[in-house]
Symmetry: C2
Subunit: 367 residues, 2 copies
C-alpha cells in the first residue's frame, strides 16, 4: 500500500518517492495548509494542477466542523473536498493546547470550543479514531508541544507525554490504508531530542515529524536542531519539518535531508499583500507598484503573472477586492511549487549546492 | 464601429446583436457588476467563458481608485483588468448622491470621499471626460436619480436635471470608439417618463437606460413603468433596465422588450450564502444542506455543480472559508448566463411565453 524510496542523494539533500493510495509524491515537497478542508480561496483542482500533490489538514478543526459523520457520509476527506493527491492530517494538538482555558494531563486534554462553548475531551486514542474517520492518507500522532522554548522541565514533560501518547496512538491505529507518523519533540535540548527519537524508534514509525520548532528560539538554534534530528532519523524513513516553509527555510532544510514541509505563511502573507518572487518577497500594496504594468514576477509562469499586472493586483488590494487575495495566494503557492521542482531537479543533477547559493543570493537581496 | 441589429422578435421580446470594438453581445444579456474593475472574487476569464460578454463598471469609483491615469497607462480598462468583452461604465451618479453630505445643484455635485476626506466636484462634462479616459465601450450619461419615489416635485427636478445634463454629456462626448447612452428618469409618473424620453430623443442617443426604479415603489408600479418606457423607446435603440436583474425580474422584463440588464444581487447574495437554482433560490448555509451530497443544482453544468457537493459548500460557509463565497458567486453568475441563453433561445424559437411560464412555475415555487 505504502512505499518510500530514496531515488537520489546529493550529499544529504535527497529526492524520494512517497507512494500512497493517492498516487506518488516526489519529495522534497511543500504541503499547502487546508486546515478546514480548503486551501484558502483556491480550489483543490487549482492546487493539484500547479504541481502540489500533498496537503495538510487539521483533525481537531475538522472534528468540530463539519464533524466526522459528514466527512464519512461524503466518502472521506478526499471526496468531500475533491482532493486527488496525498492528504495528511495533523491532530491539531498545537491548536488545542493554544485555546484559552484548555487543561491537559498525562491522559489527554480537555477544552471548550470558543465559538460554541461546547466542552470536549481528547485522548491520543480518540484523536486516532477521529483521524481514521477523516480518512487522510497519513495521520500524525497527538503530541505535546512545549509552551515555552527555554524551560528544561517543560521540554522534559513534552518529550515524556509525546512518547507516551505516540505509544497509545500506535496501539489505537487500526487501518491499513492510512499511515501513522510520530512527532519528535525536545525543543533545543540535543539530548532530549535524541532521547525522543530513540524512544519513538522503539515504538517504530515509518515517518517522523519534527515538531516544537519556531516557537521563539533563535534561528541558528532551529537550524542546529533540524540538522541533528534529521541525521538521527533513519535514512529509510520520512523526515517532515512541521509548520515551517518559507522559501529560504525550505532551501536550508532540504540541505539537511528534509522531505516534507508544511506552512501557512505563503498563503497567509498572500492575503496580506506579500508576494513571493525570485528576487525576494515584496509588498504588492506598496505605492511603488501602483503603475507597474509588468507581472508580479518576471520569471514566473503562473496564470496570474501571465495575465495580470502588478498595477491591477495593487489596485485590487487597495480597493479591498477579494480577488486580490485569491490571485496573490495562487501566485505564492505556484512559486512554492516551482521552488520545490527546482530543488528536486538540482538534487537529481547533483547541483543542489549551486542552486542553493544562486537562489539565496537572489531571494535574500531585497529582504 | 457600432451597430445594433434586431434579429428576432417574439411579440415584444427580442433577440438583438450589439456590436462594439470588443465583439458582439447577443441580447437580452445580463451584465455582472464590476464596480471597481473586478467581478467580486472571479477572474475576467471565468466571467467571459461562462458566456457573459458584457460587464458594468462604475466611473466614479474608478476615478477615486485607481484613478484614470493608472487605467490609461495600462492601456485602458479592458487591458487593465484583462476583460475582452463589452465594458459599460455607469457614471456612478447614484453612488455619489448617496454619500452623506453630498450637495448638488443644476451644475453638478460636490462631495467628500468618506475614506480619504478629499473634496471633489463633478459636472456632467467632467464625468464624460472621466468615462472617456477609462475607455469603456459604452458610457452612461450622468443622471439625477430621485431620492424618494413618491414626491412629484423631486421627480420633476430629476427629469429636468437628467435632461439638461444629458445635453451637456452629449456635447462633451468626443470619442468615436465609445458610445454614449441616455438615462430615462421620471419615477412612477407616466407623463414625466414620456416627457423625459421625448426630450432625450431630441438630443438623440443610440441607447437608453431606464433608471430610478426599484427605489421603494411597489413591484406592480415598477412593471407598469418598464412596460410603458420600453414601448416608448424606438425599436432600433437599445433598452437597458438599470440595476435590476434577479431571475424572475429579468424574465418579466424581457417580455417587454428589454435588451440589457445589470444587477449586483446574484453575486451579493452569493456571498451571503444564497444560491440560485432552477427550482428556486435557497440558502446553502441551511442545516438541511449539511449532509446533502448532491450538487447545488441538479440541472446545472457549472464546474462547481459538476465538482462539489452542497455539504461541502455548506461547510465552507459554516467554517468562514472564503472559497465558499467564490464558488457560490461562480455558480450564481453561471445560472444567470444560462438563464439568458434560454431566454434568447426561446425567443428565437418563438416560444418565449412557454419558457416564461415554465421557468416561473418552477423558480417561484420555493420562494
Amino acid at each position: 500500500m505504502f512505499s518510500f524510496i530514496v531515488n537520489k542523494k546529493d550529499n544529504r539533500a535527497r529526492v524520494c518517492s512517497f507512494v500512497s493510495l493517492h498516487g506518488i509524491v516526489e519529495t522534497p515537497c511543500f504541503m499547502p495548509v487546508a486546515t478546514s478542508a480548503s486551501v484558502k480561496l483556491l480550489t483543490s483542482e487549482e492546487v493539484f494542477s500547479m504541481g502540489l500533490k500533498a496537503i495538510i489538514l487539521n483533525a481537531y478543526h475538522l472534528y468540530i466542523k463539519p464533524g466526522t459523520k459528514i466527512i464519512i457520509d461524503s466518502g472521506g476527506i478526499h471526496n468531500f473536498m475533491k482532493w486527488n493527491g496525498l492528504a495528511l492530517t495533523d491532530s491539531g494538538g498545537f491548536q488545542m493546547f493554544s485555546l484559552p482555558g484548555s487543561q491537559e494531563n498525562e491522559e489527554g486534554i480537555s477544552l471548550r470550543v470558543p465559538e460554541t462553548g461546547a466542552q470536549h475531551y481528547f485522548t491520543p486514542e480518540k484523536m486516532i479514531e477521529i483521524e481514521e474517520k477523516i480518512g487522510a492518507d497519513v495521520m500524525m500522532c497527538l503530541d505535546y508541544c512545549p509552551k515555552i522554548w527555554d524551560n528544561l522541565q517543560e521540554l522534559k514533560i513534552s518529550v515524556q507525554r509525546t512518547v507516551d501518547w505516540a505509544k497509545k496512538c500506535k496501539s489505537a491505529h487500526s487501518t491499513e490504508n492510512q499511515q501513522l507518523w510520530g512527532i519528535i519533540q525536545g525543543g533545543i535540548d540535543i539530548s532530549l531530542r535524541q532521547q525522543c527519537i530513540e524512544r519513538l524508534e522503539e515504538i517504530e514509525f515509518p515517518g517522523y515529524g519534527i515538531g516544537g520548532l519556531s516557537i521563539g528560539e533563535p534561528w541558528s538554534k532551529t537550524l542546529e536542531i533540524i540538522d541533528l534530528v534529521s541525521k538521527s532519523i533513519p535514512e529509510n524513513k520520512v523526515r517532515y519539518l512541521m509548520g515551517m516553509g518559507m522559501p529560504d527555510q525550505v532551501v536550508e532544510a532540504c540541505e539537511m535531508g528534509i522531505d516534507f514541509f508544511d506552512c501557512a505563511m505563503p498563503t497567509r502573507i498572500a492575503r496580506n499583500g506579500t508576494t513571493l518572487g525570485w528576487n525576494g518577497k515584496f509588498n504588492i500594496k506598496a505605492a511603488a507598484c501602483k503603475d507597474e504594468n509588468g507581472p508580479l514576477d518576471p520569471e514566473c509562469n503562473c496564470f496570474v503573472c501571465k495575465t495580470y499586472s502588478r498595477a491591477y493586483l495593487r489596485h485590487l488590494f487597495n480597493a479591498h477586492e477579494m480577488l486580490g487575495m485569491r490571485l496573490n495566494s495562487y501566485h505564492n503557492l505556484y512559486f512554492m511549487s516551482e521552488l520545490m521542482k527546482k530543488i528536486r531537479s538540482s538534487i537529481k543533477q547533483g547541483k543542489f549546492q549551486e542552486f542553493k547559493k544562486d537562489f539565496l543570493n537572489k531571494y535574500q537581496q531585497k529582504e
